[in-house]
């Protein structure tokens, strides 16, 4: 119960936030939420299933374009557009995932990257439909979300709902089976699981939530470009997850907070963001492989250890 009370506090804090911070930071907060959702969906494949996808941005981008195109060319309301984004991203994930889950390790990483680039080039070339490298401009949210504070609450609502669903999935037998696949794929086959089928389902679900995140992005930034699908963009959720910690549900979200803040801060006074984040990542990989969560867990373990040995010592003294 203690763990949940932390979450409730944080949730209440996020609700109060727009009233205490300026508009710029509300923008940053929305970005944190959207990319955090993107990163958490990525972690379904990485932290839970144990595979590194370097093409997750494909589904993010498909979701962004689905909502963007619908909002520009039709009068479908935004929430329905988001559903379409999830469906479109999920369908794409189904097609690509069918092939990707036949591989693991480096081959999985490269194939997901190749498919990501494929989507990027398709969107880039299909000028008549997607606007090519001009992207889509002028995606305007509906009136009731025009105010950035309102869009913030809308995003909180959607992202929280999505996180709750993903949380339930991670605690369900399916979620545990994913962890089993990561921990010992062979054993999982030999207790009766069709590993490929399960990996594909997971791949599609992860893609759908990435698509949802992408759908939220368009009306927020008012314009989207094919860059949203390329392999550099695919690196963003990877970075966030690694910084926050892949082995905990909220790790990627924590990573998003750190990454986005860092980005907003660093780009304020220098253009050398890639250099900065590159150094950060190397530092995290070499010295903090479990991310922030890993570090916190270590500290908690050593506190627990001290408590236990403290009791032991007390007990020994009493005996003596």
């Amino acid at each position: 119960m203690k763990k949940y009370s932390w979450l409730v506090l944080i949730f209440i804090a996020t609700l109060i936030l727009p009233h205490v911070i300026g508009e710029f930071w509300i923008h940053v907060a929305i970005e944190i939420l959207i990319f955090g959702l993107f990163a958490v969906s990525f972690n379904m494949l990485f932290g839970y299933m144990g595979q590194l996808s370097f093409g997750h941005a494909a589904y993010f981008g498909v979701g962004a374009y689905a909502t963007g195109l619908l909002m520009l060319k039709t009068s479908v309301p935004l929430p329905v557009c988001l559903v379409f984004s999830m469906v479109a991203a999920g369908a794409t994930a189904l097609i690509f995932g069918y092939f990707c889950v036949r591989l693991t390790g480096i081959y999985f990483a490269i194939l997901t990257m190749a498919f990501g680039q494929l989507i990027y080039y398709i969107i880039f070339q299909w000028y008549s439909f997607t606007g090519g490298d001009n992207g889509l401009q002028g995606i305007v949210p509906p009136e009731w979300l025009y105010n950035v504070k309102n869009y913030y609450y809308f995003t909180i609502f959607i992202v929280t709902a999505a996180l709750i669903v993903m949380w339930f999935i991670s605690e369900s037998p399916f979620g545990y089976t994913m962890r089993a696949i990561r921990d010992n794929t062979e054993r999982t086959r030999f207790i009766g699981i069709n590993v490929r089928k399960y990996m594909l389902i997971n791949f599609v679900v992860a893609g759908m939530f990435a698509g949802l995140a992408g759908g939220l992005l368009g009306p927020f930034t008012r314009s989207i470009a094919p860059d949203l699908c390329n392999w550099q963009q695919s690196g963003v959720p990877v970075f966030m997850t690694v910084i926050g910690g892949p082995l905990g549900f909220f790790g990627p979200m924590i990573g998003s907070v750190i990454y986005t803040f860092l980005f907003a801060f660093v780009t304020g006074f220098t253009e050398y963001w890639p250099l900065t984040i590159g150094l950060v990542i190397i530092f995290v990989v070499l010295y903090m492989p479990g991310g922030i969560l890993g570090l916190v867990n270590e500290k908690m373990d050593s506190i627990k250890f001290k408590e236990q040995t403290g009791d032991l010592n007390n007990g020994l003294e009493k005996e003596a």
Binding site: I106, I110, L111, M113, F239, G278, I282, V285
Partner: protein
């Protein structure tokens, strides 16, 4: 469509393929021996191009200076590769795939920004040496004479690597370490030193490739981004770790590129991705790689 035009495209594809081979061979070598996919390979290739420019510039921009610069740039990159291996790569030998990939990916970001800092954002241009200024004509088809040089170097590197791996003692040790790190260590040969040497060699070739690329067109920021993906495709199609595979795949990709320019210019890369995806789906270890259980 007349035959000489087709032949011209063929030659263009050949030289493009050779350029790709020069980049991909180092990548394949490093992966084959160390099992590390060096994301930063193209970034280092680009550094090689910039080094070549700087050396050429320092030698007062003479034609002779260019040939020296190419060699110097490759050697400089070998040193850079050596340093990177000892300081960074060594620490992730036994780590998970994701950590290795992230490390080399982070290197890309760092190197690209360092290039910006050191050399600035304007394109760099190297003047063509007069000996390669005019095209040569082969069976009536024009070929940029510089590309003759590229093709020669490409074959040279291929033969050199083959000779090194098959005929020298050091090459035998390298191949043995691919089969069994433990055995090689048990024989008293330190694996880290072998890996450092292999990595430095791979980066030397990348530097050479970059330096040779330098006089072609201009040197621009971001060139490495387009190239790294093509290099990955080549290495996958040919077979991760197979030198012959890399050679064949480079030429195939080069020709696919050259000929798709005729029918579907925008689709060249799409085509290459589709082929790459197909290879990964049907035969993930590539055309010439050794079959593994995926």
């Amino acid at each position: 469509m007349d035959p000489s035009m087709i032949f011209a495209q063929f030659l263009s594809g050949l030289s493009r393929g050779m350029m790709l081979f020069l980049i991909a061979s180092g990548l394949s070598l490093i992966f084959g021996v160390m099992n590390i996919l060096n994301f930063a390979h193209a970034a280092l290739w680009l550094v090689g191009a910039y080094f070549c420019y700087t050396f050429w510039y320092l030698m007062q921009g003479t034609a002779l200076g260019l040939w020296f610069s190419i060699v110097l740039a490759a050697l400089a990159l070998a040193v850079v590769g050596w340093i990177i291996e000892v300081v960074l790569i060594r620490r992730v030998y036994n780590r998970e795939l994701s950590e290795q990939l992230l490390l080399t990916y982070a290197l890309v970001l760092i190197i690209d920004d360092l290039i910006k800092i050191v050399w600035g954002v304007e394109d760099k241009l190297i003047e063509r040496p007069p000996v390669v200024a005019d095209p040569v004509f082969i069976f009536g088809a024009p070929l940029d004479s510089y590309f003759v040089f590229v093709i020669i170097v490409g074959f040279g590197v291929a033969i050199g690597l083959w000779w090194f791996l098959k005929k020298t003692r050091y090459g035998h040790i390298v191949r043995a370490s691919v089969f069994s790190r433990e055995m090689v260590s048990a024989l008293g040969i330190p694996i880290p030193r072998i890996y450092t040497g292999v990595f430095a060699m791979g980066i030397f070739i990348a530097g050479l490739a970059g330096a040779i690329q330098a006089p072609v067109g201009s040197i621009t920021l971001g060139m490495d981004m387009a190239v790294i993906i093509q290099a990955f495709c080549v290495v996958v199609i040919g077979g991760l770790g197979s030198l012959l595979g890399t050679f064949v795949a480079s030429l195939v990709v080069g020709e696919v590129y050259a000929f798709s320019i005729l029918f579907w210019p925008e689709g060249a890369l799409v085509l290459i991705f589709i082929v790459t995806a197909l290879v990964l789906i049907i035969r993930p270890w590539g055309l010439f790689g050794t079959p593994v259980r995926t």
